[in-house]
Amino acid sequence: MKTQLQDYKHPEIKPVWCPGCGDYAVLNAVQKALASLEVKPHELGVVSGIGCSGRFSHYFNSYSLHGTHGRALPIATGLKTAREDLTVLVAGGDGDGLAIGGGHIAHAARKNIDLTYIIMDNTIYALTKGQSSPTSHPGAHTKTAPYGVYEDPLNPIAMFLSYDVSFIARTTSLKIKEMEKLLTDAIRHRGFSIVYVMSPCVTHKSLTYDDIKSHVPSLPEGYDPTDKFEAFKYAYKEEMYMGLFYKQEKPTLNERLESIRKEVTGSSYNKGHTMTTSQIMEEYL
């Protein structure tokens, strides 16, 4: 049976983000992407960390885990390794993903573990009510920088490129169709994918809908997402280009483990002792 958007929404827990928060559109787009890929709710795991983005996992009618601050990626790495049959999504923000947990992206990329990391960037610590984040604009007034932010913001796309993340896309809550398409491709991608979403914060006004509207050209026609140098070039442009920056095929963590096991022992990992959820469903329903 085909899944519908409603199948992914938690029957009781409704989002508590501020009215107008960009994260609503991201949640919807992720769920639509899952429906289009026909990922069954019982084949899905959603992991989040702390912050407004940390709420993300609660809103799914699936397996979901609200982890500790900055550790969504390693928790998801463990989950995916133990249950490679699950589609695992990880949600984070500019605080959880790039500050306290920033060190983990490099290692998820090196393993190329098959996860999709959705980063919702609002350029502020919004849940604790408005302190500077690693992507706060220089000069922006925040509660920890009352006379303006004096540190340089990170360039996340260039960072992900240097880490050799195997799927890198940037989009915004305003471009719902594009976001849905990129999320669908990212979830389908074999390996570590990042969809970086510029998501407005209407409460702290750190990133407004107008800010995004005026600065988000799409990557040009004929742009080649397998050309890493081209990707770097566009990552460093002043305008915030949107679209699929980079994509490459390489073995996932589980494929690497599998191939070493085969090389050393001549046989595969024993999967006989556990049944996947789908196998159980097929057997008993």
Binding site: I50, H66, H69, Y125, T128, A145, P146, Y147, E151
Partner: protein, 404 residues
């Protein structure tokens, strides 16, 4: 802006009181990461640094682990350092806590007491700091915003004492103290400066005292360092008392050293508390006294160093005592209870004690709850050992009779 040149009373939250205390203490480096319910401290301090009213450098770090690490780096060259955290943040700092105390770095930190995940809760209890009891930090639990401000100043004085050189954690109950507004008297800067001179130590990397820090030890010499660390913590008890005495002479407020008593002199039933709940317990003592029940409260201010002698002197005269823990060491009992019992084990008269575990995840503890504790203490079985053991630890406000 508050003018610290004259005596002024201000209406501030506990978090803001700590920030004012920090400013008066003139730290040179502040590194902190926001976490509820500590965040206001971070915000006020960054404002003070940027508006120039506090001559310090403020580092916007990317995590609590980095907040503690940066404080360690600053302290290693003799700078007065401050940081603040809460709950998960404190646990994330755990590695640094042991490093800082082992390195004898007198960093001062405010901790907004908050529950630990899982399940998630942003509300207050003592499980965060109690789990760090063995990290080698001095731990004080304050009762109100004034004590929070005053202890911030005293913390540097105690921690930086050459015989102590031990980091200092000031614990404030999350929300109950951090977010409640109270009238607080702000000491004059000039007087604070004479109470708390600039930090000076030979335990730093400098041209005058060149050294390399962070060395390894072999099994042959590690224990000597740990012995010294323990001795410094034990010696800090006298320094704490002296700091309190001199503070009261200069500013007119005394907190009576390691413990504070309310109506304990002739008390038959004494409840041991820590932090903000002490105020509630004082009210309960008054109502019990009206009913003719000789109740008293022992406010345990310091958990480390532990006031063994004071506890033994005060509690051994009671008929029975209770310990109100906002913490539990799963599989046994509240951490304060274990510590209090151990202090009493050396006394000739070892009264029966009961452990009341309450306030977990921010659950309210009312005057009535505490009155019930005193009633339970009156009924505390003193002959049947089996009955006593069964009723020794009870959970407060769980909808069950606490004697069950």
């Amino acid at each position: 802006m508050i003018d610290t040149r004259k005596n002024e009373s201000v209406f501030v939250s506990g978090d803001e009181a700590v920030a004012l205390g920090v400013r008066l203490s003139r730290p040179q480096v502040i590194s902190a990461y926001p976490i509820t319910p500590q965040t206001i401290v971070v915000e006020r301090l960054s404002e003070m640094v940027e508006d120039g009213s506090l001559d310090a450098k403020y580092i916007h770090v990317e995590s609590e682990h980095s907040a503690m690490s940066a404080a360690m780096g600053a302290s290693s060259v003799g700078a007065r350092a401050f940081t603040a955290t809460s709950s998960q943040g404190l646990l994330y700092m755990a590695e640094g806590l042991h490093y800082a105390s082992g390195g004898r770095m007198p960093i001062v930190m405010m901790n907004a007491n908050r529950s630990l995940a899982l399940p998630w809760s942003i509300f207050g209890d003592h499980r965060d700091s109690m789990s760090m009891l063995d990290s080698g930090w001095i731990q004080v639990y304050v009762e109100d915003a004034q004590e929070a401000l005053d202890m911030t100043i005293q913390a540097y004085r105690i921690a930086e004492d050459p015989s102590v050189l031990t980091p200092f954690m000031i614990n404030l109950d999350g929300f109950i103290l951090t977010h409640t507004y109270e009238l607080v008297e702000v000491p004059r800067q000039k007087e604070v400066d004479s109470y708390l001179p600039p930090f000076s130590t030979p335990n730093k990397m400098s041209l005058e005292t060149p050294k390399s820090m962070g060395f390894s030890t072999s099994p042959a010499d590690n224990m000597e360092f740990k012995y010294q660390q323990h001795k410094a913590m034990m010696d800090s008890m006298e320094v704490i008392k002296k700091a309190d005495k001199e503070f009261s002479e200069m500013f007119g407020r005394s907190y009576h050293g390691l413990v504070d008593c309310y109506q304990c002199d002739d008390a038959e039933y004494i409840l041991v508390t820590a932090g903000s709940v002490t105020g509630t317990a004082r009210v309960a003592v008054d109502t019990m006294r009206i009913k003719g029940i000789k109740a008293g409260v022992l406010k345990l201010r310091f958990m480390r160093p532990f006031p063994e002698q004071e506890i033994r002197n005060i509690l051994s005269g009671a008929v029975s005592y209770g310990v109100l823990d906002k913490d539990i060491s799963f599989g046994y009992e509240g951490t304060m209870f274990t510590n209090v019992n151990s202090a009493l084990s050396g006394s000739k008269n070892f009264p029966r004690g009961m452990n009341f575990v309450g306030g977990l995840g921010g659950r309210d503890i009312s005057v009535q709850d505490i009155e019930e504790m005193f009633i339970a203490l009156q009924k505390c079985p003193d002959n049947a050992y089996g009955d006593y053991i069964k009723s020794r630890v009870s959970f407060v406000n769980m909808g069950v009779n606490i004697n069950e």
